[in-house]
């Protein structure tokens, strides 16, 4: 055995848990949830303002709140939580010590200082430039400085993750290849390095420009490199939440991946091609050729979509195989009907899977089609799409695994189990509604990032159809539902972490139950007898929905003014 380090042995899993890693996971997760609460509140204010009958905030506050909402939830909440996921998937899952905990704490500190700095800049009112901060619109210098500090801190966190992989391998804390969940986290970390480097490349000159040391930043080049950060940071989420799906399937069902090879190849498709989709934001720009647009927007012939569709089969397939091996074999769906729907870790994870695929995934591919983008670009369809991916997909998955981290890492019994049981449903359906109604309003032409859809103060009048008002009203109502779900989450988790019953060192939490490992479904020779009819039905429904929605939008496109 390698060096000694301060650890405890987990009574549930038997794994050794490095206390340094454990403390870092706790700190990152807690700060993440604080920023989720702040950013979520800003989001509610935005949705209430866009509800035409309520129109809550004045215009300047609306744009301020929208800037803060984007930054706090798209970047801060999610990347802090991803740091927790990286430390968990490396040190804890690999049974290892964390490499360089001091570096990890330095990174944590930089991220926190950066996040606070940018929030202060936004709240001071001089930096309502939106999350994207497109030049030549200028924010205060400390707005950019905060984002840069945050990015550098996150880069240190990624470094610690890679370092831990090296340490674990050298100290032989595991045999053979890294577990699939760690491989998924590795995918997220690789995308994160590209993301953060891109952000630094473009934001450092922009910071210098804002203090007058650089005279000009080209807006098109800014937009191209900025999205290498802005979109790729959402691809970190995809990789991380898919890893979380596999982790929850393993912890709740003892599910084995159907095939290590297939799942890892799917992650490889992410590593190579997922970041190319940053081009989704540049399809309506002048001067970039159709060749560049088509190659990049399609993630190199949709190979990253292929990766997602593989995970879409293998995650529910692994659950189905595990359930069937326990005797839940009746009909097509007994395994799913009798799944633990009152366990928020499972219900949150499964809704995340379904909503990410059906709402976020399909709409993203359709909107990212070079020509179809013309009838959706920068309408509120876009936020409709990414609330389906980042909120219904990523945030819901992260909430789900938090219900497992509270007893396993924070060593507290979960409190208020009744509220916890309902939380994923309230939040999930709220967010699904937000996504669908924003997409509906977008197809009717409603702009994103827009304070007044009545154009009351405009010199020339314009009226949206009544259906657009209805959509935005429903969006507001479902935003309230999602906000209630968000509050339920924060109350349960913060309550449990600070006031839940402490678990003794060797005490197993009564909840969640971790089942024995299921009968192997992927050993040599069993592949011919794999039976997952329910999953096949689910992916078939998905595929039909995908194809229909795709061609319906080509039909819509063919009806607008010809342009060339």
């Amino acid at each position: 055995m390698g060096k000694l380090f301060d650890y405890r042995t987990c009574p549930t899993t038997g794994l050794r848990v490095d206390r340094a890693a454990e403390n870092l996971i706790k700190a990152n997760a807690v700060v993440a949830i604080v920023f989720l609460a702040i950013g979520g509140l800003f989001g509610l204010l935005v949705a209430l303002t866009r509800w035409p009958a309520v129109h809550f905030l004045p215009a300047d506050w609306f744009y301020l709140a929208l800037t803060a909402h984007g930054f706090d939830v798209l970047l801060v909440w999610i990347i802090f939580f991803e740091m927790a996921v990286l430390y968990f998937a490396s040190a804890v899952v690999l049974n290892s010590r964390l490499a360089g905990p001091k570096w990890a704490w330095t990174g944590f500190g930089l991220m926190l200082v950066g996040a606070v700095t940018t929030n202060v800049a936004v709240l001071q009112g001089g930096s309502s430039v939106m999350f994207t901060s497109y030049v030549p619109m200028m924010a205060e210098p400390h707005f950019y400085l905060g984002v840069i500090l945050f990015a550098v801190g996150a880069l240190l966190g990624c470094g610690v993750f890679f370092g831990t992989l090296v340490v674990a391998k050298r100290e032989k804390t595991y045999e053979g290849s890294i577990p699939l969940v760690t491989f998924g986290a590795l995918t997220a970390a690789i995308i994160a390095v590209f993301t953060i480097a891109s952000g630094a490349i473009i934001l450092i000159p922009t910071l210098l420009w804002s203090v007058g040391l650089v005279s000009h930043i080209d807006p098109l080049i800014y937009k191209t490199i900025w999205w290498a950060m802005g979109h790729s940071s959402q691809q970190i989420n995809v990789a991380a939440h898919v890893a979380v799906w596999y982790a929850i399937a393993a912890m709740v069902f003892g599910a084995k991946p159907l095939s290590e090879k297939i799942s890892r190849m799917a992650f490889l498709m992410y590593i190579l091609f997922l970041q190319l989709a940053s081009a989704h934001h540049l399809l309506a720009e002048p001067g970039l050729s159709s060749e560049w647009k088509i190659f990049n927007t399609s993630y190199a012939m949709y190979l990253a979509v292929l990766g997602s569709m593989i995970h879409g089969l293998s995650v529910p397939g692994a659950i189905e195989a595990a359930q069937r091996s326990r005797g839940l074999t009746k009909g097509m769906f007994e395994w799913l009907r009798k799944a633990p729907w009152d366990n928020p870790a499972f219900s949150g994870m499964f809704m995340s899977l379904v909503f990410f695929g059906f709402i976020g995934g399909i709409s993203g591919v359709v909107m990212g089609t070079e020509q179809i983008n013309l009838i959706m670009h920068n309408t509120i369809y876009v936020p409709g799409h990414f609330h389906g991916t980042v909120v219904a997909g990523t945030t819901l998955a992260f909430m789900a695994i938090t219900y497992l981290l509270v007893p396993l890492i924070f060593r507290r019994e979960l409190m208020m189990k009744k509220i916890a049981r309902w939380q994923p449903y309230v939040f999930g359906f709220g967010v699904a509604g937000i996504s669908i109604f924003m997409m509906g309003a977008g197809t009717l032409g409603v702009s994103r990032r827009h304070w007044d859809m009545t154009f009351a103060d405009a010199v020339l009048p314009f009226d949206y159809p009544a259906a657009a008002y209805l959509m935005m009203t429903l969006n507001g109502i479902f935003a309230i539902l999602a906000a209630i779900g968000g509050i339920m989450f924060v109350v349960v988790v913060v309550g449990s972490v600070f006031f839940g019953k402490k678990l003794a060192e060797d005490e197993k939490p009564s909840y969640p139950e971790v089942p024995p490992e299921s009968v192997a479904v992927s050993h040599y020779g069993s592949s011919e007898t794999l039976k997952i009819p329910g999953t096949i039905m689910l992916v078939s429904i998905f595929f039909v929905a995908f194809v229909l929605y795709y061609f319906v939008n080509w039909k819509y496109l063919s009806e607008v003014w010809p342009l060339s």
């Binding site: 577990p179 983008n373 920068n378 020339l460 050993h523 020779g525 342009l563």
Partner: protein, 177 residues
């Protein structure tokens, strides 16, 4: 399971279940169809974004637009000149804080070369209720050939955030028989 190392040391040689293989083939083929659909539409479809673009100084673009306005203005509306350029001609639309300038009047089923550029920040050309949406950049000029095929009155909204007056940035295009 997914939280432990693969149970076989050499997992690469594990056979793949037939159903997984079928799904991979289906998904891969679908990806190819979607990829080639974009290329096919460039030949067969009528709605494509042109690749014609130039670098241009805002003042130079404003001058070209002003020359068009001086030559083809037909009336005024709420302080905006209404311009009716001849079919097939080059038409300029200025995006600036917070206006689309001027108001344009087109003939139905005629084609126009529409030039778009911004005088200041980024803007978003959003033609409603048709729902055609394009980015408008300062320093760059994009040229699209449009063929309005339904007569009526259209709004041009801004859908790229451009400061506190963003939501008041409304322009107009008329399409007449």
């Amino acid at each position: 399971m997914a939280l432990t190392p693969p149970s076989e040391r050499i997992w690469w040689r594990q056979p793949i279940a037939k159903i997984e293989l079928i799904w991979i083939i289906v998904a891969f083929t679908w990806g190819l169809i979607m990829f080639f659909m974009m290329i096919y539409w460039h030949g067969a479809g009528k709605q494509n974004l042109s690749n014609e673009a130039y670098q241009i100084k805002p003042q130079a673009f404003a001058q070209k637009a002003q020359a068009m306005i001086d030559e083809y203005q037909v009336r005024e509306e709420s302080g905006f000149p209404v311009v009716r350029p001849p079919p097939g001609s080059d038409v300029y639309l200025i995006a600036r804080l917070w206006q689309w300038w001027p108001i344009l009047e087109f003939e139905k089923d005629q084609s126009y070369r529409l030039h778009l550029s911004s005088m200041d920040w980024q803007h978003g050309f959003s033609l409603q209720p048709v729902n055609i949406n394009l980015s408008v950049q300062p320093g760059y000029e994009m040229i699209v050939t449009i063929t309005p095929d339904v007569a009526g009155e259209y709004g041009v909204l801004c859908n790229e955030f451009c400061g506190i007056g963003h939501h008041n940035m409304v322009g107009k295009i008329y399409v007449v028989e």
